[in-house]
């Protein structure tokens, strides 16, 4: 009886959190999937059921596919820089940099992460400005005029310029997380590796990487999910242009929902984003667990 009362009390304490979670997380997901089967907009008196038409529209929409490719590019580059490079950066900071300088460098690397994404976007719009931007001036100063571009105004460079800004902003944040993970590795493991004759590179691959696997898994999930949810930086810097070349799924969703008044199609795009990020997270967690068992 007492145990039953304890369970009921526990449920009562959980209730507010469950209600909030249900209303603000799960209900919108379910509702979004439902709405993706309708044709509707903010002005239509009644949604019309259209089955899988919105998904068929996505399949035949070249800008949807371009957006998806841009998101994938975003994810791949982010994995390389925000996971791979930041892990190397964290290892170098911890192993080779003097303790006093280490703290200063950590702060310097972390500063971009505390700048609002909108401010960072505007800042880089100036850096990329074709007339007076720092980047073109720098290229000109070192005799690389042929590399100068209207970075945000050309189809071939716009999305890569945005991705570049995003790496500048996030690499310090993930590096600091890796630093925390590295600091938790028992020093005895490194000492044992050194006794066995392992150099710095071997220690990195044989001790550091395996011991920060959980953090790596977490950051991979966050980075890939973040790459598929990217929105602000694209809106601020190009709004998806020129000629929709820098559209990502988030901005294409927004344009269809709030500018083209096609909420049903926008809901279908949102569902695709959800399935992709959710599926990837599940896959990554499963792989992470299996590797942990192998250890």
């Amino acid at each position: 009886m007492a145990s039953r009362m304890t369970r009921i009390r526990g449920l009562i304490w959980l209730l507010p959190a469950l209600v909030l979670l249900g209303v603000f997380v799960y209900y919108p997901i379910v509702e979004n999937v439902r709405l993706s089967f309708y044709s509707w907009n903010a002005f239509s008196p009644k949604p019309v059921f259209v089955g899988f038409d919105n998904y068929a529209t996505a399949a035949s929409d070249p800008i949807f596919w371009r957006s998806l490719r841009n998101n994938i590019a975003y994810a791949v580059v982010s994995l390389v820089f925000q996971v791979g490079c930041s892990l190397c950066l964290a290892a170098v900071l911890e192993e080779f940099v003097h303790q006093r300088l280490r703290g200063i460098l950590r702060v310097i690397y972390f500063i971009p992460a505390v700048i609002s994404i909108t401010v960072a976007g505007i800042l880089f719009s100036f850096i990329y400005n074709p007339q007076f931007g720092l980047l073109n001036r720098l290229l000109g100063a070192v005799g690389l005029e042929q590399w100068q571009h209207s970075w945000l105004g050309e189809r071939s460079t716009a999305i890569w310029s945005i991705i570049g800004m995003s790496q500048w902003q996030s690499i310090g944040y993930t590096a600091v997380l890796f630093v925390v993970a590295i600091q938790r590795i028992p020093r005895e493991l490194y000492e044992a590796a050194r006794v066995d004759g392992a150099g710095a590179v071997r220690q990195f691959f044989s001790v550091t990487i395996p011991m920060v696997r959980e953090m790596t898994t977490l950051l991979i999930i966050l980075t890939v999910a973040g790459a598929f949810l990217v929105f602000n930086e694209v809106m601020v810097m190009t709004a998806g242009g020129p000629s929709d070349s820098s559209q990502v799924l988030g901005t294409w969703l927004y344009r269809n929902a709030f500018l083209a008044d096609d909420m049903g199609y926008a809901s279908a795009i949102a569902t695709v984003i959800f399935v992709l990020t959710f599926g990837f997270a599940i896959l990554q967690i499963m792989i992470g667990r299996r590797r942990r068992v192998e250890m």
Binding site: E31, S150, G153, A239, G241
Partner: protein
């Protein structure tokens, strides 16, 4: 029942409650536009809700002052004024529309943006109080009033007059020896002379697409007969097969090659404007509501503030459309057809568009009011007065292409002109996209 089952049931019930509370989108009863629109002093009470897109610190104080003045004049009325930015407004008003929570008064651009509210039954028919034959209606510029008509009825209250002009630096024109161009061919020829003299012929930044759209709006108006444009800009009948549309894009391509700096897709309109203000460019295509930034009071350097004038973007000698059309449109306010305060809303809008408030608008924020006789030498400056005269002489308003057409067509144009600028698309490619978008729009409307 196990603990897990109970938790599952709890989540299900919570979700069901949320579903019931929130309801489906757009399923509320469609309201009609039969509200009583006349109020007396005795009925002036309650809270009036207003949403505008004028959060810009340059413009917001004027609207706050009008609201405060109205409250002072009507002690029983409280005005709940919410002002958001241009882009956030587009999101906010759609969310409010979908949830049937529109304010009593809301902002609207002229064209298809306003027509969507009308077609959805969300805008009150104001013909009885502000039609062209009414006292209030006669106080407006006829072209401004017409911009908010739909099927011969008035649905929006125009608050300002805005038109697109080519501002030019008279000192640079004199120095280079160029006269005001009479046609597009002259303009393009003049650009070569400015380039040779070391000036950017036309300061142009197209980072977000709309500056190029304003050129296309004017060129379409001059190259395509009005009846054809009217049919094409209507999503139910749009086809965009007239040769004038492709000609307009060709002309834009010629202007871009001869007159713009390269890389204009990567420059913002404001950056380009700064080049014009700094005397580095001979011309700049801008709206009359922006004229004040070219004045000393608006912060322009004296070298420019004392040496600028404007002209309309000229047509080609052989243009087949309406050569007297002028790109522009008034901004306006609509009244929620479901508002219980419709009469009070109309009364407030009458107050806002009184001659005194119209004159104050021109004086304080440099906008031309849609109310006739409000711009004078005392509250404006010579170029603004000249613009008012020119607007009055325009054959018709060519409403901004990105608000007058269906959103899909507008997007095809926005994307296409950026492609023309960076050389990745030809005018023919753009027209193909526009025609496809028009076909899609026609299908969705039908």
């Amino acid at each position: 029942m196990s603990t897990r089952s109970r938790i599952t049931a709890l989540i299900a019930v919570s979700a069901a409650g949320a579903l019931a509370a929130c309801g489906a989108p757009g399923t509320a009863a469609k309201t009609t536009a039969s509200a009583n629109l006349t109020s007396s002093a005795a009925t002036k009470s309650g809270t009036l809700t207003i949403v505008t897109k004028f959060a810009d610190p340059k413009y917001a104080p004027y609207f706050e002052k009008v609201a405060a003045d109205y409250e002072s004049a009507n002690s029983g009325v409280k005005v709940d004024l919410q002002q958001v930015g241009d882009q956030p407004y587009k999101d906010k008003i759609r969310v409010l529309s979908a949830s049937k929570q529109l304010p009593d008064i809301y902002f609207s651009w002229a064209g298809d943006f306003a027509n969507k509210f009308v077609r959805a039954g969300l805008a009150a028919d104001l013909t009885s109080v502000m039609g062209p034959d009414t006292e209030w209606g006669k106080s407006f510029s006829p072209a401004a009033l017409k911009a908010f008509e739909y099927d011969g009825k008035s649905y929006g209250v125009p608050i300002n007059l805005d038109a697109k002009y080519m501002a030019y630096n008279t000192a640079i024109f004199s120095k280079v020896g160029v006269a005001k161009p009479a046609n597009l061919e002259d303009l393009i020829a003049a650009c070569g002379k400015f380039k040779s003299a070391g000036y950017t012929p036309i300061a142009f930044g197209n980072q977000y697409g709309w500056p190029a759209i304003h050129y296309i709006t004017q060129l379409n108006a001059m190259d395509v007969p009005q009846a054809t444009r009217d049919a094409d800009y209507n999503p139910a009948t749009g086809a965009f097969t007239d040769a004038g549309y492709a000609a307009a894009l060709d002309q834009f391509k010629q202007i871009s090659e001869a007159c713009f700096d390269s890389g204009s897709n990567g420059l913002s309109h404001e950056t380009a404007q700064a080049n014009f203000l700094a005397g580095k460019a001979a011309m700049h295509f801008l709206e009359s509501v922006e004229f004040s930034v070219l004045t000393a009071k608006g912060g322009a350097p004296a070298e420019l503030a004392d040496n600028w004038d404007f002209f309309r973007l000229p047509p080609t000698a052989s243009a087949a459309g309406d050569k007297g059309a002028l790109t522009g449109a008034p901004d306006g306010f609509m009244v929620n057809s479901g508002s219980k305060n419709a009469a009070l809303a109309v009364d407030f809008l009458k107050f806002m568009t009184s001659k005194a408030n119209g004159a104050e608008m021109t004086k304080s924020i440099g906008w031309l009011s849609s109310v006739q006789g409000t711009a004078t030498a005392e509250n404006s400056f010579p170029q603004l007065e000249a613009a008012l005269k020119d607007i009055s002489s325009a054959n018709s308003f060519a409403i901004w292409l990105d608000t007058v057409t269906n959103a899909d067509v507008a997007n095809a144009y926005l994307s296409g002109v950026q492609g023309i600028l960076d050389g990745s698309q030809s005018p023919a490619d753009v027209m193909k996209s526009v025609q496809d978008a028009a076909a899609k729009a026609k299908k969705s409307v039908s």
